[in-house]
């Protein structure tokens, strides 16, 4: 079917402004992705899936400038022993990065891999993204597959001794970064991936994750602070039998962030937890869009999203649990809550269920409201000043999401950081 005229024009313009990397084992996948983009067109405001978030600046030919945020604060996760991989404005920085060798895992740069004729990544690159295009189209992810310039491919074969930290630095006020990572977790293997930093003025990132039977992956993201970047990220996770995937994302400011998580259970008895905490202040638009497909028996999924908003910030949550026919004994849980600290902020939510199996338990809840006055009064009556009391109540509100982090040290560090940020803005 032909695209609407405006969509056709904007899509063509954007496609004309980028070049598809040629040669090597990934070219067929890139070409297929390009034709997906041409078929779907890039998102616009009229698309139901973009009802609450304006994609204009994410698809425009020119990048809206974003000032580089200067801070003396130590970057997230720097207190932990980790293997750090640094990207500056979306380009791998070998000097700033650690040596990529670590027992139990093989790490390669996407740019190095794509030149090869044969590589395991060929069977995954763009494959999970393509699967994630139905029933809902995600054109920005297909765009990424076609035009990604850099990224890492990680093959987890054992249990590496330390987490792998992808750090995204922002140096140029009009940089446009397109990163594509592929992570393959072997049967019985387990790893932790950390991500932090604003990345670029505009950031499009796709992470494809394939977890084999009994594999485990932890993904922890801390999306910068006070920066002006605009980002659209996608993660596509494919889960085998008895595997586990746990993800937590912390977002503190950023003009526009759209995080899509697409999780698919194809093996029985697996579990996936997707959680997020966000604190938005002022010119801030944060969108969590989650789609979980249960296509296996006895799997457990949990979505926990908490948003604290003030000074005109907007929080969006679009979550969906799809239970396919035969996916019996599914346990699906979804909660999205917002705490609106003032009258200018808004919370827009669409928590959906689509169920085709009768022996399942799926529940979803969504609430929105102001801070609990009774709780505030209690704290104040015990001598806690109003600002600190508000922060404590806010932290308590976010706790359910932060508690989704298994590693207690990382959870504590995230909490400290949150408290520091809240206190600084008091």
């Amino acid at each position: 079917m032909a695209l609407p005229e405006l969509k056709q024009t904007t899509t063509e313009a954007r496609l004309a402004s980028v070049t598809l990397p040629e040669g090597g084992c990934l070219e067929p996948a890139r070409r297929a992705a390009l034709s997906r983009v041409q078929g779907m067109g890039l998102p616009d405001r009229r698309d139901e899936y973009w009802k609450y978030t304006r994609p204009d600046t994410l698809i425009s030919v020119d990048v809206t400038k974003a000032a580089v945020f200067e801070t003396d604060e130590t970057p997230a996760f720097s207190e932990f022993d980790r293997l750090q991989i640094v990207f500056v404005d979306g380009v791998f920085d070998a000097e700033a990065s650690d040596d990529l060798s670590l027992e139990g895992v093989s790490i390669e740069r996407l740019a190095d891999v794509q030149g090869k004729d044969i590589h395991w990544v060929k069977d995954l690159y763009g494959v999970l993204e393509a699967r994630g295009q139905t029933p809902v189209e995600r054109p920005l992810a297909a765009f990424n597959t076609a035009f990604a310039t850099d990224g890492v491919v990680i093959h987890v074969t054992g249990t590496p001794s330390k987490p792998i930290n992808l750090t995204y630095r922002h140096a140029n006020d009009s940089s446009d970064a397109i990163l594509h990572h592929v992570i393959k977790v072997d049967s019985g293997a387990e790893a932790t991936i950390l991500e932090n930093g604003p990345a670029a003025a505009r950031f499009n990132k796709v992470m494809e994750i394939d977890i084999a039977d009994k594999g485990t992956l932890h993904l922890l993201r801390a999306q910068g602070r006070d920066h002006e970047r605009r980002a659209a990220t996608h993660l596509f996770a494919h889960l085998g039998e008895e595997s586990a995937f746990k993800s937590f994302t912390l977002t503190v400011n950023g003009v526009l962030t759209r995080n899509e998580a697409v999780v698919e259970f194809t093996g029985d008895n697996a579990m996936a937890h997707v959680a997020g905490a966000c604190v938005g202040d002022g010119d801030f638009h944060h969108d969590d869009t989650v789609f979980i497909t249960h296509d296996a028996v006895n799997c457990e999924s949990r979505q926990v999203f908490k948003k604290v908003l003030r000074n005109g910030a907007t929080g969006v949550f679009q979550g969906k649990i799809l239970v396919k026919e035969g996916a019996q004994k599914t346990d699906g849980y979804q909660i999205s809550q917002s705490l609106l600290l003032d009258d200018d902020s808004q919370f827009l939510a669409k928590p959906e269920l689509e169920i085709y199996a009768d022996d399942v338990a799926c529940s979803h809840g969504s609430t929105s409201g102001a801070i609990d006055e009774d709780g505030l009064f209690y704290l104040r009556s015990r001598g806690v000043p109003i600002g600190e009391a508000t922060d404590l109540m806010t932290l308590a509100f976010l706790a359910e999401a932060v508690e989704e982090i298994d590693d207690s040290e990382i959870a504590a560090s995230i909490n400290d950081r949150l408290y520091g940020w809240l206190a600084r803005r008091r």
Partner: protein, 506 residues
């Protein structure tokens, strides 16, 4: 045979519930009345619109209004966002107007109405004689010192057959008549309110309705009047290949109150039939309207053959402060349902409530829910929706709760539960929540057989075993909704009361 027999409900689903669903899914109103009919030519075009208008002896402004709507409709596309699938409708292969020949000359009173028509309604339990009362309320009059009266407007295909108790209502100042009569007799009221809640260009089906609606009911309750009896409209589709497009307009002026009931059935036929209605309700300051529906259109057979496509736009506008509206619906019929009775809470402290039970069996598809648009301060809304799917049916709750920036201190509570009987059906929830101020509270939940721990604890403390306590607390899947139904629907309510929430999926 109901498809339910072929499916095993999973453990935990109450057998009584399965039986009750099977029972309500057995269609009892599938017979047809053999009566001579008069049709307008098939299809829809400006001439048909003019013809319908002239059959209703409408003034020029009304014809013009219809034609404008038709003009708009030709440029509109059928919505496709609902989770329903049906073969493409050929809008030119339908009759848009059908009336019994005997209605050619309007009967002056019910005594002159063709006995065949009166029998039809009597058979449906809707006697059109004032000395009789609606079926299903036997015993009701004993409870009351006075006889319980219900005024009925009976719509047969495209025309209103008659309206009972008009004289008695008139004494109280209440106008209750068919909309075609209102256009002739009370043009000032119709002109003032028609299309102000559901604009002629609102959506594809509402616009089509605006162009071709043939009849429907009109209610005006003057300031300070509590309508002395329940008002009701009974819609019957009888003719084949004929769409029914009725329009209802209810105006509750300041401080008034009215309870309105709506029932509908259709004969069993192999081809699908279209029903696209519009209901507009205007509620002024301190007024209250209760609108209850038992939708029982023919659902089609177990293979999905035939049935009514029910595409309905219903909306209430709480214009004045402290205005209140309550929608209660029991949806058991129709092959496809597309229906979202909504509340615009414009007046400060106005309230909207929506209670719904949707039961879908065999190949039925229901996409239904509500919109609560909070515009005024201190407005409140409550949504309770229960969906049950059996056979190969699909049941979707779709709703919107919107808190406008100015709707300070407003409150919404939404609860939707679904139950699946068998593993070939589906239950879906698509809520939209938009909160644009922080003094309002919005809560949405859709949960599994969630039993309140405190209540359970209370019961157990008093010596009940766990099972008994659960049975008592979760005593009825549908009770929340059934309590909101007026007495007149007692029969339907009795059938549904056996349905429990146990084993719901979310």
């Amino acid at each position: 045979m109901a498809a339910l027999d072929q499916f095993e409900a999973k453990e935990g689903v109450d057998q009584e519930t399965v039986d009750a669903v099977r029972d309500v899914s057995t269609y009892k109103y599938g017979w047809n009345t053999d009566i001579e009919m008069e049709y307008a030519p098939k299809g829809v075009n400006p001439d048909i619109v003019r013809l319908i208008s002239s059959k209703n002896e409408e003034p020029e402004w009304m014809t013009e209004w219809r034609l404008q709507a038709f003009e708009r409709w030709t440029g509109m596309k059928e919505p496709n966002w609902a989770m329903v699938n049906y073969p493409e409708i050929d809008f030119q292969d339908q009759y848009y107007y059908a009336r019994p020949k005997s209605m050619e000359v309007k009967p002056k009173s019910l005594d002159e109405v063709d006995p065949k028509l009166l029998d039809t309604y009597a058979k449906l339990g809707i006697p059109l004689k004032e000395q009789m009362i609606l079926a299903g309320v036997e015993g009701a009059e004993e409870a009351q010192t006075e006889e319980r009266k219900v005024a009925v407007d009976a719509v047969f295909d495209s025309v209103s057959v008659g309206t009972t108790f008009q004289a008695e209502l008139k004494k109280a100042g209440v106008i209750f008549c068919s909309i075609s009569e209102a256009i002739r007799e009370h043009p000032e009221l119709v002109k003032k309110y028609l299309g102000t809640v559901v604009p002629a260009s609102d959506n594809f089906y509402a616009t089509l309705n605006s162009a071709v609606f043939s009849d429907g009911s009109f209610v005006y309750v003057p300031p300070g009047v509590r309508c002395p009896m329940e008002l009701s409209t009974y819609f019957r589709i009888n003719a084949e290949n004929t769409g029914q497009f009725e329009r209802t307009l209810i105006i509750a002026d300041k401080g008034s109150y009215v309870s309105y009931l709506e029932g509908c059935t259709a004969p069993q036929r192999d081809t699908a039939q279209l029903h696209a209605a519009v209901v507009e309700i205007i509620i002024e300051e301190d007024a209250e309207v209760k609108y209850s529906t038992v939708q029982n259109w023919y659902p089609g057979d177990e293979n999905g053959k035939g049935g009514i496509y029910n595409f309905v736009t219903k909306r209430a506008d709480c214009r004045g402060d402290r205005a209140k509206v309550m929608w209660t619906q029991v949806e058991t019929g129709s092959a496809v349902t597309w229906k979202y009775p909504s509340c615009i809470l414009r007046g400060n402290e106005s309230q909207g409530e929506f209670y719904s039970i949707a039961i879908a069996n065999n190949m039925q598809q229901a996409d239904t829910g509500t919109k609560m648009i909070h515009l005024g301060k201190n407005t409140k809304s409550r949504i309770v929706s229960k969906g049950i799917s059996a056979g190969k049916a699909q049941n979707t709750y779709r709703g919107l709760v919107s808190m406008h920036p100015k709707a300070k201190n407003s409150r919404n509570y939404t609860q939707c539960d679904s139950l699946l009987i068998g593993d070939k059906c589906g239950a879906h929830t698509v809520p939209y929540i938009e909160v644009k101020n922080n003094s309002s509270r919005v809560e949405h939940e859709a949960t599994t057989s969630k039993v309140d721990d405190d209540q359970l604890f209370y019961c157990r403390q008093r010596g009940m075993d766990e099972e008994e306590a659960v049975a008592l607390v979760v005593n009825g899947f549908c009770k929340d909704v059934l309590q909101a139904l007026p007495m007149e629907f007692a029969m339907e309510a009795q059938q549904l009361v056996a349905i429990s929430l146990e084993g719901s999926v979310g």
